[in-house]
Symmetry: C2
Amino acid sequence: MDKNKTSIQPINWQDDALFLLDQRRLPAELIWLEYDHPNDVAIAIKDMVVRGAPAIGITAAFGVVLAARQAWNVAGVNWKQAMTAPLARLAESRPTAVNLHWAIHRMTALYETLPDNESAEQVLLKEAQAIHAEDIAANHVMGKLGADLIDPKSTVLTHCNAGALATGGFGTALGVIRQGYADGKIVQVYADETRPWLQGSRLTAWELQQDNIPVTLQAEGAVAALMATGKLDWVIVGADRITANGDVANKIGTYMLAILAKYHGVRMMVVAPTSTIDWQLNSGDEIPIEQRPEYEVTMINGQQIAPEGVPALNPAFDVTPASLIAVIVTEAGVILSPSTEKMLKIKE
Amino acid sequence: MDKNKTSIQPINWQDDALFLLDQRRLPAELIWLEYDHPNDVAIAIKDMVVRGAPAIGITAAFGVVLAARQAWNVAGVNWKQAMTAPLARLAESRPTAVNLHWAIHRMTALYETLPDNESAEQVLLKEAQAIHAEDIAANHVMGKLGADLIDPKSTVLTHCNAGALATGGFGTALGVIRQGYADGKIVQVYADETRPWLQGSRLTAWELQQDNIPVTLQAEGAVAALMATGKLDWVIVGADRITANGDVANKIGTYMLAILAKYHGVRMMVVAPTSTIDWQLNSGDEIPIEQRPEYEVTMINGQQIAPEGVPALNPAFDVTPASLIAVIVTEAGVILSPSTEKMLKIKE
């Protein structure tokens, strides 16, 4: 296998059904779940069978294909009307990642041009597959653009999982890391374990281990001490939503990393496809932040770790202001010291 | 029970033996372990049956009592010589907390004045009990001094467990919080879960819940977003070692909190008895930082959470420079904006 490729593919369409690699079971077990109903896809997104903003978008696109099949079977020529409910469920499955809405919108814009009197399944399937393929291609472009910014033999830290598992394949932050490692730009990766869901321990460490890229785990609380040693050159993360001014919503803890990076003179790189940019929102204050169940904090793997009845905060994301970000890398180009003006150039 | 008292006592001497509340099993089970051999006490400290700098010091003092009994039984008039090995084991059990060395030194200084031809057990027991009682008294003094600095109806955040379980009883940081809550200064406490050992979830949440003080848990990664809301007034933590210039070694993650607090204009309070001050060290750079086993990061409750073979950093402590600390509270007085000069005034 090429050093800058990965064979990990979390989303697969096969035999007229959608297959998702169950990310809740990793790294202990590799289990594929099969979906042929759009409402089950919405539940899979909500329950985090699949997670990561680009992967959620691609999954939702295949969910629209399943919705179209079901709508045609049930409602015939009224199939477009029958799409409303399942698409609303898909759209509501996770509130923060904008790629979900972007993908549903792209699929909807297409099927509204199609005739009422035939099944749209095959046309929509091609579109979903195009979204999937374009995402992987964008990851490879971003991988090169991001790696080009990094000096040889650098050490980087990443948070959560913005890897092959979070995208169509290859990854956003981990795409830059894969490319950077292949190019000799990166020699060591530190991964935050990323409480409460432990995406760093369970997914990122696993992905990088599969590709033989040196990775060391640490709790979020240990990051500041690691930065104080002067070892880190970059923090590289993905994004769930980027606003028109360059503010970034990403996994809870990202804002903490940005402040610590600024304090220690470490540069902060955000890697995300343009489908992550929400041009409707002027700043991060307007981004809805998903609050997830308290038991994700008070229990681990079904075991109670806190006393019964203690409340817990569990915001899934936080917002990092553009002023703390050194560079945003998209497939359309890089934005150094992001601002509304510089973001607009990427839009054009 | 008085609002500003607590009945939690992690260390008890009873029926000629030392009993420790096994903090590894909390909050699921309340189990007391009995010790009558100093080497087993050293293992208990190393394995974190008991933890928290003041509690470790008190436990070590009782360990010296057990060592004296054993030495007299085995070596008779040569008992002082027979103390060397068990005391070395106690001293080496954890490297960062200086209270351990302080307590052993105080016990040693006493027994060196005692005659060779009789058992020192009862005299040393009285000294260990005095250390224990003085620690609780110091906690109450610090509780009042710290609470006096806090405005009414404040919201505070604490890290790890610097409570009754970390001391003789009542607590350092949690002593201030108990007193502050009783006085109407504090209305809400946020507790970091404190990975990897989860002292916040397992111990602090349990202690505060026992005393009906409102406590909400969150992962360390969520603290910056909490601070950004403007809700927090103080971060209140304990210390494992304070150097002559006011630098503070404390549970990993404390340095992160200090940077985030500074960035958001939240004040940082460190609460520790003077036995925590190491006057021999000029700055925090000289403090030895304990590295604990990697499995504390890669496993939780015996379950593997990371892929097999992935390395992990697990420093137990970090160092916060005095410049990030608003105030150090000791039983001898408070030190605002700590410096070498101001620290010396407390010494005198």
